[in-house]
């Protein structure tokens, strides 16, 4: 069995050995429901699509993903198991990937559990299922981006609360980087290329594209790069700062 899948399976066993997994899944489902039905006016809009459901995913992830990712490395540091894990014959990258994939699959599971929502719109009308599938994919990819940031932040500290807060702050910056309130800070003095750069970092913008059903290669590349970048940073942080 490959080192990555071994670590991944151990993590997943760990999730379900504690109430954390169930609490998370329930909260996730309840929150998506509340957002879609109350804030998104799921029924009243009269459209057969899942737009109100997906629209709030970035905001949901902002808090829920760090709640998953905060323990990834902080807990290993606190309990000392990091020393056990990183003296097994596997590379730091394999350990990071294994843990990341476990958490990502877990969020994938949470998304799968929202399928009744999809069934409901199909029952009520005839939505464009291609768009919905694309939106699911986009949502999961975006969750991966949040998760990679959270995993990296979690490697910085042995304190889960600190990891949680750091993750929210960094995720928030990534989320908002394309919105006018952030862009206004830069417009007028920063060169256009910087403005474009900042705007193109936004999770919201890339997610909006995908959730409209347009799977643009650039959006896929974007999320892949975000995940790759933060996981690499994660490996570097662990290698530089293993003790304490």
């Amino acid at each position: 069995m490959s080192a990555i899948s071994n670590v991944m399976r151990r993590e997943l066993t760990g999730y379900f050995a504690t109430p954390v997994a169930y609490v998370f899944l329930i909260i996730f489902l309840v929150m998506t429901g509340i957002f879609a039905f109350y804030l998104g006016n799921f029924y009243e809009r009269g459209f057969a699509d899942l737009n109100p459901f997906f629209r709030f995913h970035p905001w949901l992830y902002l808090f829920l993903v760090p709640a998953i990712s905060m323990r990834l490395w902080a807990e290993e540091r606190r309990s000392g198991t990091i020393e056990l894990l990183l003296t097994l014959p596997l590379t730091t990258m394999q350990a990071v990937l294994g843990k990341f994939l476990a958490a990502w699959l877990f969020i994938g599971l949470a998304l799968v559990l929202t399928l009744p929502m999809w069934l409901t719109v199909n029952y009520l009308g005839s939505p464009d299922n291609g768009v919905i599938l694309a939106a699911y994919l986009g949502s999961w990819l975006m969750a991966g981006g949040f998760l990679a940031i959270g995993s990296c932040m979690s490697a910085l500290t042995r304190n889960q609360v600190v990891a949680f807060i750091l993750s929210i702050v960094v995720c928030f910056l990534f989320l908002l980087s394309g919105l006018p309130m952030v862009m206004n800070l830069f417009i007028g003095w920063a060169p256009q290329i910087v403005l474009d750069g900042i705007a193109s970092l936004s999770f919201l913008k890339h997610f909006a594209d995908i959730s409209k059903g347009v799977i643009d290669l650039r959006d896929l590349v974007y999320f892949t790069l975000v995940i790759g970048f933060w996981l690499l940073a994660n490996v570097l942080i662990l290698d530089i700062k293993k003790a304490d």
Binding site: M1, A3, N6, V7, R9, R10, T13, G14, A17, T18, S79, G80, T81, E83, L84, L86, T87, L88, P89, L90, T91, D239, K242, A243
Partner: protein
């Protein structure tokens, strides 16, 4: 073989390990002794590839632990300080995870796990989550995890800490039984453990190597080596009388026990027994001292602290 070459580790400006070089051959059971904070665990962390040395390196079976960390780790079984493990997993789940991570062939995993469980007497708790186990059982899970792949090199940081006397004895037996053809490094604060399992001792303090010897060799450094202790009536009188002997360098009376330290002349014990016979002293205990490891440890590490 393990070859440590000028290992150094600094935390900020503080030197936890300072230019440590040594080699360990197959068949040796090496004990790291030293006061708290001496750098024993830090040295082990560098040998197992967890911490990168600030300078210097180590070779494990000719593989560099810095450059080829993963390859080097394959040769090693390691019990980190405090025996960390994933508390939410059961003993069986945890050991199975380690067995897979140690690249044991899939078909042999259950057997290796069972073997380790049996060797460490964990059969009764194998379905229990580790976090619900007592301290001694957790330590044994840590030991099982370290030996599961029958590694050529075992590095055990305080292996018997928290074990009850029976388990201590059993773990020491286990270590001795594995010692043939293997390299075993343990760190401990229990001096009798060093005498019981090690055939080599390194005393480390403030990150530096102060002594490297066999336990017997260290004991011989004790000023008690070949001294004679006796419990006798009217010890003051006996002490002054025995001090006359050419074999007696010094007589010390402590808590009713009289200890006579030898000069370079041989035959202290014989001279003392002869004097007892001649003078008809009432002796209730008499023994030849082998030497005291705690006293050697104290004098070696104290010298360093005051220097």
């Amino acid at each position: 073989m393990i070859e440590a070459k000028s290992l150094c580790k600094s935390y900020g400006g503080f030197k936890a390990v300072d230019d440590l070089s040594f080699t360990v051959e197959a068949g040796q059971v090496l004990g790291f002794l030293g006061p708290n904070g001496a750098g024993k665990s830090t040295t082990m962390k560098m040998l197992t590839g967890f911490l990168a040395p600030t300078s210097g390196t180590a070779l494990v079976n000719d593989i560099d632990v810095v450059e080829q960390s993963v390859a080097a780790r394959r040769n090693i079984g390691y019990l980190p300080e405090g025996a960390p493990s994933y508390g939410e997993m059961t003993v069986l789940q945890f050991l199975t995870f380690i067995a897979h991570a140690r690249a044991i062939a899939k078909s042999e995993v259950p057997e290796s796990v069972e073997n380790a469980i049996r060797k460490l007497n964990l059969t009764g708790v194998k379905h229990q989550p580790i976090e619900t186990l007592s301290k001694g059982f957790k330590r044994r899970v840590g030991l099982a995890q370290a030996i599961i792949h029958d590694p050529q090199i075992l590095i055990l940081d305080e292996p018997t800490d928290g074990l009850d006397p029976n388990q201590k004895r059993e773990v020491r037996g286990l270590i001795r039984a594995m010692a043939k053809d293997k390299i075993i490094i343990i760190s401990t604060h229990i001096l009798e453990e060093v005498e019981a399992v090690c055939n080599r001792v390194m005393i480390i303090a403030e990150g530096r190597l102060l002594a490297d010897d066999s336990p017997q060799g260290l004991i011989k450094r004790s000023r008690y080596h070949n001294a004679v202790s006796l419990v006798v009536e009217a010890p003051e009188k006996v002490a002054s009388s025995l001090s006359e002997l050419p074999q007696v360098a010094k007589a010390e009376l402590r808590e009713g026990e009289l200890t006579l330290f030898p000069t370079a002349d041989e035959g202290l014990f014989e001279a003392v027994t002869a004097a007892i016979g001649e003078n008809h002293w009432q002796v209730s205990a008499l023994r030849l001292e082998a030497g005291r490891l705690d006293e050697v440890f104290h004098s070696i590490t104290r010298k360093e602290a005051s220097a």
